[in-house]
Symmetry: C2
């Protein structure tokens, strides 16, 4: 049995150190990633994956922290993945594990990992999704994934999470701003945090009204909770709302539908990435294609014409033929 | 001369109606997009493209509005592209042109377009980038592109813009929050808007200090401006800062480097999209591959193994061969 296979076996058996080491491999984009994901494929789907998102400074980390406390009090194990958009230059996480979730660090049933997003996309990278899967396969009852921002990030969480919690603050602006950011449709649960501040009730009421006017599903009415995470106010209700959402998903047969869509989207992502890598490798070793890339860089040919040339090139066909013959 | 070719010719000659119609074609993903982009390729690169980004509610639209006023006063023509993250469900822009930039609507030298991002990515889609290019080719001196959010969006703007303006508000949180969102490195210019609110000076000072500790370039010191866009305070200085950035880019020889990187990134995006489309079409018409996709959806095979199967399949090779023979 090779090293990685053994590591996955141990991880599936509950070895936390192996979990940590496998996550590191995934973050580094190790060549064994496909093998790892293939090996854990049949251990997936038991965790309740909760995505927590919203603009910076809304208190998402505090909410994750408080929720973790409640989940632990109920005897559930918890995984936490905190995604810091990486600098496109440094590629590193800006905030480390240290300043997050301090109270849970000594709890063996809580596994916390901060990660940078490696692919320079600023949101939940495919890598982050694979880390969620590892925590799922490891057997965590809940996996919380926290991301910053509105944009790509939310839609990616929607792909990966069972329940999407959108955290706003009273100053995040009125309901029009909320719609503007496109978050109305992706939220399964809304939270107005820092509810002791002025305007919290008005924002909550606006949101509720908009949600009534634009009901998302027949089987689920999106709730709006007001919380003060640092004072531990309103977190019980939020926790119950999150659990109710998962129950509704299951009862309405929606969990299966979501999972299918997730797998489909992920498959297409993996295909795209693989093709991109192969084509890049191809360009790098083919003189004719390198010359074509240079002409694009210099503006001498537009990207569309160059793409047509590339995809019709004999060199590309040759690569595929080699792949086919190599594996068949 | 076919219809689209004529439309592009007219647009390049200054016909605004043709510009509007071409933008609509691009938004709809019309099959003529490659032809349009190829035809305008040699008219690109003259505009100063200014990206304006930041969390919702920061007053980005007001700033774009005020900047437009100053640019017009200097006799420059202006294009404005406002990107509303589209709902993944409706695909439509939430806020229309109507409530933006009202004062400039009657000015013929200002062309304003609100657009939804079609590809469900929440940020600047490749489509938005193509619209920027159309405005560039049309001959606008400045093109302002406004997007919401932190994440994918900023990094995409960095690809497409010459100067990236990041707009924060005093409540956006302290400097740590700014770093957390990964925006420190992508900003060429910072603005603290709504500077009449409490804490504005402190946030500006924090930012300046962090920027001194992490200088981005030798040839450009990122400035931090404080503005009150609705009261027209501080906009002159911001405008000057934006123009200085472009001047520094040119003098340091960085504009060429940026443009090359933009073209390269765009080429690879177009390649990815094309390959994705071809593979999707292939899956849809190949029974064996449809069966494989179904197995992925049901969780019976992991996405990585399925990708390996797909990329090694005879069906895929056959597609490429057909393409090759069809065009050669």
């Amino acid at each position: 049995m090779c090293e990685v296979e053994e590591m996955v076996q141990k991880m599936l058996g509950g070895d936390e150190q192996c979990l940590a080491r496998l996550i590191t491999r995934i973050e580094r984009g190790a060549p064994e990633v496909p093998q790892i994901m293939s090996q854990i494929n049949f251990s997936l789907g038991k965790s309740h994956i909760v995505g927590i998102t919203g603009p910076p400074g809304g208190g998402k980390s505090s909410i994750a922290d408080r929720l973790t406390g409640l989940m632990r009090a109920d005897g559930f194990s918890v995984g936490v993945v905190a995604c810091d958009p990486s600098s496109p230059f440094s590629g590193g996480a800006v905030l480390g594990d240290r300043i997050r979730m301090q109270q849970h660090y000594l709890d063996r049933e809580v596994f916390i990992r901060s990660m940078a997003t490696r692919d320079g996309r600023g949101g939940l990278s495919p890598t982050a999704k694979e880390v969620l899967k590892l925590m799922d396969a490891f057997g965590k009852d809940f996996v919380l994934v926290e991301t910053v921002g509105v944009g790509q990030t939310e839609l990616d969480i929607m792909d990966a999470a069972d329940t999407v919690v959108v955290v706003l603050v009273p100053e995040a602006g009125d309901a029009i701003q909320a719609m503007k950011a496109g978050i109305l449709e992706i939220a399964d649960v809304f939270v107005i945090n820092k509810a002791d501040r002025e305007g919290a009730d008005a924002v909550a009421e606006d949101l509720k009204q908009m949600l009534r006017l634009n009901p998302k599903h027949e089987w689920w009415e999106v709730p709006v909770f007001t919380t003060e995470a640092i004072n531990n106010v309103g977190i019980d209700e939020l926790y119950e709302g999150i659990r109710n959402h998962r129950k509704s998903l299951e009862e309405a047969g929606q969990l299966d539908i979501r999972r299918k869509a997730q797998r489909r989207a992920e498959f297409l992502q993996v295909v795209e990435r693989s093709v991109r890598e192969r084509i890049l490798a191809l360009i790098n070793k083919n003189e004719q294609l390198m010359a074509s890339l240079e002409r694009v860089e210099q503006g001498k040919i537009d990207p569309y014409s160059a793409t047509d040339d590339l995809l019709a090139s004999k060199a590309l066909l040759q690569t595929w033929r080699t792949t086919l013959e190599g594996e068949g």
